[in-house]
């Protein structure tokens, strides 16, 4: 079952991501301070041709695996959380196209454009009035002959201003139930965005997750051919929870690197005395390994399930993916807090080699992007009927 070769790093791909990470790291503090889009890092992603890596080679991409994408998210997360999250959100949208649009000529052509022109994809699943449940929509798409029209009060569209296309949810028609949703691709010249909220937040400040009124009109063939319920269950859930966790792992891993460097510097000055933070470094190391293991296990599980619709839509799969999100979002905060205790005032202050304020603020988003309480509520409901697999390797 555990096949380490499946996850052997693609060195050429990771080298490209490391070059992007170097650019992202050099602007991370400015992006954070000014709450601005990480334009340099995204430009570097385009220069390294990272936007389309997940797209099958038939459509001009590189067919990168979910594990490879997760590794890229983690590398970027160690440099600039906002850049990494923008990349992760883009790749989550790409995964929906790859998984559910592969048989459809328009979406095939669009994938080729994403790879060829290095388009950045945004997402509009949040809507005013749905109470945070993206599996419900109020707005409905109107199909009129070959054309579709949509207006949505999208309270969050991350990097809405910078996206080249937006994938947006709505009810499938005017009389559809709230949960009967579709996902539609709109290209930048097919919609207008009127800004309603400006993103000025504790962390993840460079994601520019502003609110907008979205108004779009496009050919109806741009509606994805599968119901959004299937897309959410079969590609979004796993990709979102795995790729977000990979970003958060990256943030925690960078914090850990700083704390370990701090303790090593102290140890070198007085090799005969154990530095005060040494035990906490060991503790943080164990926690970090736990997060890594959870992500790798989720990747294995997804790879094993991805060709099987029944497995992907099973409760055991949903519970496992939810558990990954809960565990990683909580644990990275504990890790970064440990690292702050290790480095002390030098972590608390900005502008030192051991500063961790940005890491801590960015990582606080993890529990909230899809609220952990909502996820625990869903999981607890499923556990009324689903019996957790208690075997070790099964």
């Amino acid at each position: 079952m555990m096949n380490i070769h499946a996850h052997a790093p693609n060195l050429e791909l990771t080298a490209r991501a490391r070059r992007v990470a170097a650019v992202a790291a050099s602007h991370a503090d400015h992006v954070d301070r000014d709450g601005r889009f990480p334009a340099e890092a995204v430009e570097a992603m385009r220069a390294e041709r990272l936007m389309g890596v997940q797209i099958p080679t038939d459509f001009g991409g590189e067919g990168a695996s979910t594990a490879e994408i997760a590794e890229l998210c983690s590398i970027l997360g160690q440099a600039c959380s906002s850049s990494a999250m923008v990349f992760a959100m883009h790749q989550i949208k790409v995964s929906s196209l790859v998984t559910h649009g592969g048989d459809d000529p328009w979406h095939q052509g669009f994938m080729a454009r994403v790879a060829g022109e290095q388009l950045l994809l945004g997402s509009a699943t949040t809507e005013g009035g749905i109470g945070g449940n993206m599996r419900n929509s109020i707005c409905a798409i109107e199909v009129d002959g070959d054309t579709c029209r949509l207006e949505k009060n999208a309270t969050v569209i991350s990097y809405g201003d910078q996206a080249d296309a937006i994938l947006i949810t709505s009810r499938s028609h005017a009389d559809a139930a709230a949960s009967d949703q579709v996902l539609t691709v709109f290209l930048k010249d097919q919609y207008t965005l009127e800004k309603t909220h400006v993103w000025d937040a504790l962390g993840m400040r460079g994601t520019c997750s502003d609110g907008y009124v979205f108004k779009g009109e496009a050919p109806a063939v741009q509606i994805l051919p599968r119901p959004f319920a299937e897309i959410a269950a079969q590609s979004m859930l796993a990709h979102a929870h795995i790729l977000w966790s990979a970003v958060w792992y990256g943030i925690a891993a960078d914090a850990f690197g700083r704390a370990q460097a701090f303790v090593r510097a102290a140890a070198r000055k007085s090799p005969d005395t154990a530095p005060p933070g040494a035990l906490r470094v060991a503790e943080a190391s164990s926690l970090l390994q736990g997060v890594k293991a959870s992500i790798v296990a989720a990747l294995e599980m997804y790879e094993a399930a991805r060709e099987n619709e029944d497995k992907l839509s099973s409760m055991s799969f949903s519970v496992a993916m939810n558990n990954l999100k809960i565990a990683s979002s909580q644990t990275v905060l504990t890790i970064i807090n440990h690292c702050m205790l290790i480095c002390g005032i030098l972590a608390y202050k900005n502008g030192t080699p051991f500063s961790l304020g940005r890491h801590l603020r960015d990582a606080h988003s993890a529990q909230l992007m899809i609220s952990n309480d909502r996820i625990l509520g869903n999981t607890s409901n499923m556990l009324l009927i689903h019996k957790q697999d208690t075997s070790l390797l099964g």
Binding site: R135, N136, S172, A176, A177, A178, S179, D180, P227, A229, E230, A233, E309, D310, S313, S314, M315, S316, N378, N381, M382, L384, I385, H386, K387, D389
Partner: protein, 85 residues
């Protein structure tokens, strides 16, 4: 009451559908009719209790609850298996 009638009345009571269940055909897509994944669990619990069966892990998926017909087929099959056991 036949299995399908019993299932219809459980769907009406626990499915939290925005439409009248009586208007739905046996093979109508319950998710399109507004069945949420949350309500589908309440539905499963009520069905387990009514028929005194347990849904095995491989039946806990969207397909089982996609229509009244699909639920009836699974329940009929499980009732046979689990009574025989």
């Amino acid at each position: 009451m036949s299995a399908v009638e019993a299932i219809r009345s459980i769907v009406a009571k626990h499915g939290k559908l925005p439409v009248d269940v009586a208007t739905l055909q046996d093979d109508a897509d319950l998710y399109a009719a507004g069945l949420s994944s949350f309500a589908s669990v309440q539905l499963m619990l009520a069905i387990e209790e009514h028929f005194d069966i347990e849904f095995p892990e491989d039946r806990l998926n969207r397909k089982t609850f996609s229509s009244i017909k699909a639920i009836t087929e699974v329940v009929t099959e499980l009732s046979k298996d689990q009574q025989a056991a």
